[in-house]
Amino acid sequence: MANEMPMRQGYGLALADYGAADDRVVVLDADTSSSTLSCYFGERFPQRFINVGIAEPCMVDVAVGLALEGWVPFVNGFAALVALRALEQIRTCVGYGRANVKIAAGYAGLSDYKDGPTHHSITDIAILRAIPAMTVIVAADAAEAAAWVPLVAEYDGPVYLRLSRAETIAVHQPGQSLAIGRGIVRRAGADVTLVSAGAMVGRSLLAAAELAREGIDARVLELHTIKPLDRDLLCQAAEETGALVTAEEHSVVGGLGGAVAEALCDARPAPLERVGIQDTFTRTAPDPDSLMDAYGLAVSDIVAAAKRALRRKEARA
């Protein structure tokens, strides 16, 4: 697999660069800055870097106070901890109180493979997207994570930016168009649509290549913004291909697959197969790729799901 720099590094460097361009940005971390790489910002702008210690709820509340006074705070931490420990702060003070806080949730999905299930974040998308007023974005690779930083900072409102610790397959070209709420067609195709986000975008492209060898023409959509979902692009794909697969580094409960299922059943029902972690806790592993493979996120799982979706489509015809 063609790897580039780890996503966290792309994010951390971009955040530090953006700090020079926008003096409203303040960066908070909960004693994980040398892991999330928010430390790059801290080294360049110590006056605008705040380490709250191991206290994610406090970090979010302090960020709310800063946001109400016109600063643009990026809070950084491990997704599994920020999304759960600070959830009430996020719901009440960031969401309901509508504070302009940017939650950069690092180490998401299974990317903290070595620490195990306590640090695997497989429910955060489901939780965060249920909060009104929250925008939920999943970055696919280092270049995309970097490109999100200015867009998220300049957007007026709360954002959950989901980041990985890992090196993911490179899919995004620097300078390529990127916008909140607007999905990207990563590969054209007419037979079936593979809808993905995060690390699964690259895997979906590999799956599409494998399907092509078997004569199946798969479209690959990257719906990086889980909320608000690009319903137009999704429904167009449902209309034109008639069968879909979602692929996500998250539980199949309530994540991208859930969001896509909701949108399709509202607007354009079509056979849908969901690739994700099958409502189970995970395990510690020696590397992220083998862990993803072990929990049903392998390229071959996407290929098999595409074939199931196609069979269902043909059964309807």
Binding site: V26, I50, A55, P57, V62, G65, E69, G70, G97
Partner: protein, 278 residues
């Protein structure tokens, strides 16, 4: 520090009585709300909103205003009364509290009600959010103060102490917390449900300056707020010892009146006591 004359003290005491009457009327009319913790904090609220805080009700977002967060957001009736009487919105709005179309929510909502600095109602957030606001002010060289009113039961939650440690790390002297220490929470006495004492020592151990006062003594409240302004190396907490349900004999020190509205007979009796000064 300023000297407060008897007439000013009497005026603030009268304001506190108005806030109590408003709060009870609002809770009675709506048959919902929190009388006990509204009555206990009436002098604190009156001293802040009618004397100490620098506010401009005609310009709620005036950059130089002092920031006030009602961290014990369930005492919303008291805050709404103070804001209305301070001129942020018409007094008549108080009679519509809880109506679907009214801007006054069960708990304060910064996006709906003018003068509400921060949405609250879930306990514990005030210190950490206030610390963020205080740090923000210092980073921009702004002179405003940040004031947070908490309940004592609220301090059972860990987020309060996370915020306290954070404020101490940054020596946020522009942050002042006032704890309405009425020793009663929903389920019973605070010292039985989960004891806080030694409470002052807890704050001192978190590197806060501590001032202990009688929270129904307006002069003590005003002087404590001034004294907090003289402390330049750390945040200050004012532990205001109060009586839950203060001013209504049958509500005083009784957990039943934490979140229950009076019936008509009880309401009339309460009015007689408050109006008669009994």
């Amino acid at each position: 520090m300023p000297h407060y004359g008897e007439s000013l003290i009497a005026e603030i005491e009268e304001r506190a009585r108005e806030l109590r009457l408003d709060s009870l009327r609002m809770i009675y009319q709506r048959q919902a709300g929190h009388p006990g913790g509204s009555l206990s904090a009436a002098e604190i609220m009156a001293a802040l909103h009618f004397c100490h805080l620098r506010l401009d009700p005609s310009n709620p977002s005036w950059p130089e205003r002092d920031r006030f967060i009602l961290s014990k957001g369930h005492a919303s009736a008291l805050l709404y009364s103070a804001l209305a009487r301070r001129g942020y919105f018409p007094l008549d709005d108080l009679e519509r509290w809880g109506e679907l179309a009214c801007h006054l929510q069960g708990h304060p909502d910064r996006l709906k009600t003018p003068g509400v600095e921060m949405t609250s109602g879930v306990l514990g957030h005030g210190i950490a959010i206030g610390a963020g606001m205080a740090l923000a002010g210092r980073m921009r060289g702004q002179a405003y103060g940040v004031y947070v009113l908490l309940g004592d039961g609220e301090c059972q939650g860990g987020i309060v102490w996370e915020g306290a440690m954070f404020a101490a790390k940054y020596c946020l002297a522009n942050l002042t917390a006032i704890v309405d220490c009425n020793d009663v929470q929903l389920d019973g006495p605070v010292h039985e449900v989960l004891p806080l004492e030694p409470f002052a020592e807890k704050w001192r151990a978190h590197n806060w300056a501590v001032i202990e006062i009688n929270g129904h003594n307006v002069r003590q409240i005003l002087e404590a707020l001034d004294l907090a302004g003289e402390i330049h190396d750390r945040p200050t907490v004012i532990l205001a010892r109060t009586t839950k349900g203060k001013g209504v004999s049958f509500m005083e020190n009784d957990a039943h009146w934490h979140g229950v509205a009076p019936n008509e007979e009880q309401y009339q009796r309460a009015l007689r006591e408050l109006k008669g000064g009994a």
